[in-house]
């Protein structure tokens, strides 16, 4: 049903700004360069950012932690359908959060604030459930996992690197483009970046240990929503 417009207050009529103000505005506008980055270009940057961040983060981890493989050691031994299904759900989770945070919506002011809140709050618990509930693995992966840090601190660093790359790209994609609800939008962007860092860890780390998964994988994913909400709003506001 269409929303009804409330009756306007008859006492109020729009008033034109004084001529001096108009001149000041014209002079200021003439001296200020405007961004040429269209919405389409910005969204394209964000779309490229997620897979690039994963690839760069994983490659970087191989260089920093010598001996750490690019992908999990048992990648080719894993049950294909189960692995592909789990990966697809994780990608969908991160992708949905990214879409909700980035798309401008029909009013050009982003999606409804309740959807942004859901995106910001749901990614970490869903990621934790999807990775900890009947984790996928093989004997080869389990053997490799025994050599990993029990708390998964290197994994947390990899997640931080991937998430920061994605978050930076998302922030640049929406730079000065969010006049409404910037904190909610920033939290959703952070959650999306966290979701992509979780995908990277799922591709690289064979660990099934609960403590490792919680501290090394889920905690960074959750932290990114908070980080986004704290760091990004200033960048997003016009």
């Amino acid at each position: 049903m269409a929303e009804t417009r409330p009756p306007l207050d008859p006492l109020v009529a729009p008033v034109a700004p004084p001529r001096a103000v108009a001149e000041r505005v014209r002079a200021a506008v003439a001296q200020t360069p405007a961004s040429r980055a269209t919405v389409g270009r910005r969204l394209a940057l964000a779309l490229v950012a997620a897979p690039s961040a994963i690839l760069l983060g994983l490659l970087g981890s191989c260089l920093v932690f010598r001996g750490r493989p690019l992908f999990r050691v048992d990648l080719w031994l894993l049950p294909e359908v189960a692995f592909a299904g789990r990966l697809l759900v994780l990608v969908l989770l991160a992708g949905t959060a990214t879409a909700l945070a980035l798309i401008p919506g029909r009013r050009g002011l982003g999606v409804r604030v309740s959807l942004l809140l859901i995106a910001a709050l749901a990614v970490a618990p869903l990621y934790t459930f999807l990775t900890m509930f009947e984790p996928i693995g093989t004997a080869v992966g389990d053997a490799a996992a025994r050599a990993l840090h029990p708390l998964g601190l290197p994994c947390a660093l990899v997640a931080f690197a991937v998430g920061m790359l994605a978050l930076t790209a998302f922030g640049l994609a929406l730079r000065r483009a969010v006049p409404s609800a910037p904190v909610n939008r920033a939290a959703a962007l952070g959650a999306a970046a966290g979701g992509w860092s979780g995908v990277a860890l799922f591709l690289q780390c064979p660990a099934k240990n609960t403590l490792h998964l919680l501290v090394g994988h889920s905690l960074p994913v959750a932290a990114f929503a908070l980080l986004g909400a704290i760091v990004l709003p200033r960048l997003l506001r016009p």
């Binding site: 929303e3 006492l11 729009p14 004084p18 103000v21 919405v39 483009a177 409404s180 506001r237």
Partner: protein, 189 residues
């Protein structure tokens, strides 16, 4: 020409569309600034800052969206930025918005009715400045600018229910202020 179409041209890089855009948007935006910021000097600065931001981020305007609602959101965001900057300095009550009120009531009827309307508007204006920014912005968008609850919610970045609640609180405060000043509510029908 339709403001949305003008904005589309301006967002596409057509600098010459600025004058048309300014003419189309400035009365509504300036009035919004006056009601948000209260004092005339503040409203002028807010208007200038907001228009500059609108210009700077013009490429982020989404074709097909209402430019007025987008501009309202920019004004409100700019207003909140300015409030944050001087958060440690408590806002004083408005001095006056005389010029604006005079412009509104110039030649609007008999001298007596003009006086009464001006007194009424002054109380509304002062009470608006006295209430919280949240309630004030919701009331202005819903009752003065005529946005729907959904549109106001998008501009303010809150839910539609929250907009209605805040506007209702503002309305109640205004009603109480007018009653204190001796204005009676006239029931219609």
């Amino acid at each position: 020409m339709d403001a949305d179409q003008v904005m589309r041209r301006y967002a596409g890089g057509e600098d010459a569309a600025f004058d048309e855009l300014y003419a189309a948007l400035s009365p509504r935006l300036y009035s919004f600034c006056v009601r948000l910021a209260g004092r005339n000097g503040d409203a002028d600065d807010l208007f200038q800052d907001a228009f500059l931001k609108l210009h700077r981020s013009r490429a982020t305007y989404v074709s097909g969206a209402s430019v007025l609602h987008w501009a309202f959101a920019i004004v409100r965001s700019t207003h909140l930025d300015r409030l944050r900057k001087r958060a440690r300095r408590p806002e004083t009550l408005i001095a006056s918005t005389d010029d604006v009120l005079e412009a509104i009531f110039e030649g609007s009827g008999s001298p007596e009715s003009e006086l009464q309307a001006e007194a009424l508007a002054r109380i509304v204006e002062q009470e608006l400045q006295r209430m919280s920014e949240r309630n004030r912005s919701a009331y202005i968008l819903l009752k003065i600018e005529g946005l729907t609850a959904g549109e106001a919610a998008a501009v303010l970045g809150i839910t539609g229910d929250a907009v209605k609640q805040r506007a209702f609180r503002a309305y109640e405060a205004l009603r109480a202020a007018l009653a204190r000043a001796g204005f009676q509510q006239v029931s219609r029908g």
